[in-house]
């Protein structure tokens, strides 16, 4: 049983996510981790932007802040610096975090505030009906790319790594244990930690691209690991496979980890004063 279930606002359930939505799986992993770590969520704040992913925080009985589109990280930054003793977790989507909120993301990474940002990456703007997102792969159809997407997709992890995040990882909804482990590591990390979680939009993106239902989408995540795919490139093929509008192969797990003072430490905020010696 998911011990995190006890942390839900029971009177709000069931949640509004569509049948088979990967976000729910990520949410499940998140509360599982929260339940494992915290006896009470009094000192945990979940800050979200706008979008399907951001709705998730409302169902968790913590200090939850459902902010404006793209700005969750800025709210979180203010909150964290005002209440450094809080554990602040930002839940954002790919459109929210990388599109409209991309600027806040890179600056949050640069500032290295001790936040954890979990990006629910479903390749589209789900809440608004499945439009092109910064993570939508080339060729994919969305309601705003009726002829297929001509643009390239963002690699959020590369972006935040370059921006100076001190913990960067990627996980998938399909691999809940890995996801849980990475959420834990991200929470353990002192400084800005970023987790790109590949999930799926079952309703809009899937329908537009004929990707099937929730479980089908989960299966399509099975390939998302570069190490495995590199192994496969060594194997002979009888002919070149046809390309699909699928995500680029992306490495999973911890992709970057470094250590530098957090903003709280530099500011010498309570609980973040530099250690003696």
């Amino acid at each position: 049983m998911n011990p995190g279930k006890a942390l839900l606002r029971q009177d709000m359930m069931p949640h509004i996510l569509c049948p088979g939505c990967g976000h729910g799986i990520v949410m499940s992993a998140l509360v599982r981790v929260l339940a494992k770590r915290y006896a009470s969520l009094d000192q945990v704040a979940l800050v979200a932007g706008i979008g399907c992913s951001s709705r998730v925080v409302g169902y968790i009985d913590a200090n939850t802040l459902h902010t404006t589109h793209g700005r969750a990280l800025s709210f979180a930054t203010g909150l964290k610096l005002a209440r450094p003793e809080l554990t602040v977790i930002v839940v954002t989507g790919d459109g929210d975090g990388l599109g409209i909120g991309g600027n806040h993301l890179i600056h949050a990474a640069r500032r290295n505030v001790d936040l954890t940002c979990i990006l629910f990456n479903n390749e589209t703007y789900g809440m608004t009906g499945g439009q092109l997102a910064p993570t939508t792969v080339t060729q994919a159809f969305t309601t705003t790319t009726p002829y297929g997407n001509h643009e390239s997709a963002f690699d959020a992890t590369a972006l935040v790594t370059a921006a100076g995040a001190t913990f960067v990882a990627r996980a998938q909804a399909y691999r809940p244990d890995l996801l849980e482990g990475l959420i834990e590591q991200a929470l353990d990390h002192r400084g800005f930690s970023f987790l790109d979680v590949l999930t799926d939009c079952t309703e809009y993106f899937s329908r537009k691209n004929q990707l099937g239902a929730g479980s089908d989408l989960l299966f399509s995540q099975t390939r998302s690991d570069t190490e495995i795919s590199l192994d496969l490139t060594e194997w002979p093929r009888l002919q070149e496979p046809d390309g699909f509008p699928v995500r680029n192969l992306m490495p999973m797990g911890v992709l970057h980890e470094s250590n530098r003072p957090t903003l709280e430490e530099v500011m010498e905020l309570p609980g973040y004063r530099p250690k003696e010696g």
Partner: protein
């Protein structure tokens, strides 16, 4: 108390410190940057947090986050940045998060003349955010008043749990004047209302107190609750029910009403005035000079200076201005608050908007000319 020669922006920062501000999140923009610069210097020394954010959305976002954490938080900006902040102003109103936003007005639209004064943000301050919302906008006219009104802004924001906008122009921002930096008594610094019930099941964060204000605790106080920009019920949970939505909107408006009783306008030689200037900010000071000089010239002029632009001080306006035949609304824009005056003026009153564009303040001579011309025409004055 100390008397110092300080600029408007500096006075704003000093006022914020006096009000107990301990968080500033901002983004540089002329002509407001000195507020941030001053607070960057003052806050860390006093245990506060100064944060230069990546943009204005982020600035106000961080302010709201900090405020939910319990901070007295503010930001300062100017026209374009103020525009970017509108969404968060709406958010703060709906979510009832106290904060102070200083808008130093410059010539617009767009980048306009970044270094020249204007009073073009009056309507934006009122209607800038989408949807409908009640707002509090304060308009100081001197450096001294900037100092004092910054403190007042925090008081209003905290007590009513709403964003408060302090709006002044570039001239005031950079003008230096002698200011008496009065240190307010602690009891004069209002604190945000807090819940009177302990945390636990049945706790309703958005259940209003007798003043119509939701007494939210701070994050981390042991109450766990949900804050959202969606229309919400007393639990803070999203709702789309028309009744709940209209109740919420009414409450948010009604709780602002006492403000007009707390913040009174300035009335100068209005008692017997035939012609009343209506002006705020730097323009009011020009008008004041014009009043004196017109009176020297035999014209019975007076000045009505709202210190609270929104909500509109209706009662005071009608009480103080009722008998003047002519109202000249002087503002550095194409006519914004004049619409308020037109709406409030008795039928007998002739209302004339006197705008000034281009980035130079109105001059005494200009106002005198207008007044003299009006009087010469005879109009319906005497």
């Amino acid at each position: 108390m100390a008397t110092e020669l300080v600029s408007g922006n500096e006075a704003c920062a000093r006022g914020a410190m006096a009000a107990g501000c301990n968080f500033f999140g901002g983004y540089p923009i002329s002509p407001s940057s000195e507020v941030a610069e001053a607070l960057a210097r003052l806050l860390p020394k006093n245990g506060g947090v100064f944060l230069q954010m990546e943009d204005e959305m982020g600035s106000l976002g961080s302010v709201l986050g900090a405020s939910l954490g319990g901070a007295k938080a503010m930001t300062a900006t100017s026209g374009p940045g103020f525009t970017l902040m509108q969404e968060h102003l709406g958010y703060a109103t709906l979510a009832e998060i106290p904060c102070v936003v200083v808008d130093v007005m410059r010539v617009g639209p767009s980048t306009g003349v970044p270094t020249a004064p204007s009073q073009g943000d009056v309507m934006q301050a009122r209607w800038g955010s989408h949807g409908d919302r009640a707002v509090i906008v304060l308009a100081p006219a001197s450096v001294q008043e900037i100092y004092e009104m910054t403190i007042i802004a925090f008081n209003l924001a905290e007590r009513l749990r709403t964003p408060v906008v302090l709006i002044y122009d570039e001239v005031l921002a950079h003008m230096r004047e002698r200011v008496e930096l009065l240190v307010p008594h602690q009891e004069d610094l209002w604190r945000r209302p807090k819940p009177s019930v302990p945390p636990g099941p049945g706790y309703r964060p958005y259940l209003a107190n007798e003043e119509g204000v939701a007494p939210l605790p701070n994050f981390g106080d042991g109450y766990r609750f949900h804050v959202t920009g969606l229309m919400h019920d007393e639990r803070g949970y999203p709702t789309t029910q028309a009744k709940a939505v209209s109740q919420l909107m009414s409450r948010l408006k009604n709780k602002m009403e006492p403000v007009t009783e707390w913040i009174l306008p300035e009335s100068y030689r209005l008692e017997d005035a035939d012609l009343a200037f209506v002006a705020y900010g730097i323009t009011a000071r020009v008008a004041k000079e014009a009043v004196d000089r017109l009176r020297d010239a035999g014209i019975l002029a007076g000045l009505f200076r709202p210190r609270l632009l929104w909500p509109v001080p209706v009662t005071d306006f009608q009480k103080l201005l009722g008998h003047a035949g002519i109202a000249v609304v002087a503002e550095m824009n194409q006519g914004q608050w004049v619409e308020v005056v037109e709406r409030l003026a008795p039928r007998s009153m002739q209302v004339l908007g006197q705008g000034k564009l281009g980035g130079e303040p109105m001059t005494t001579e200009e106002l005198m000319n207008v007044a003299e011309t009006l009087m010469q025409k005879g109009a319906r004055v005497l």
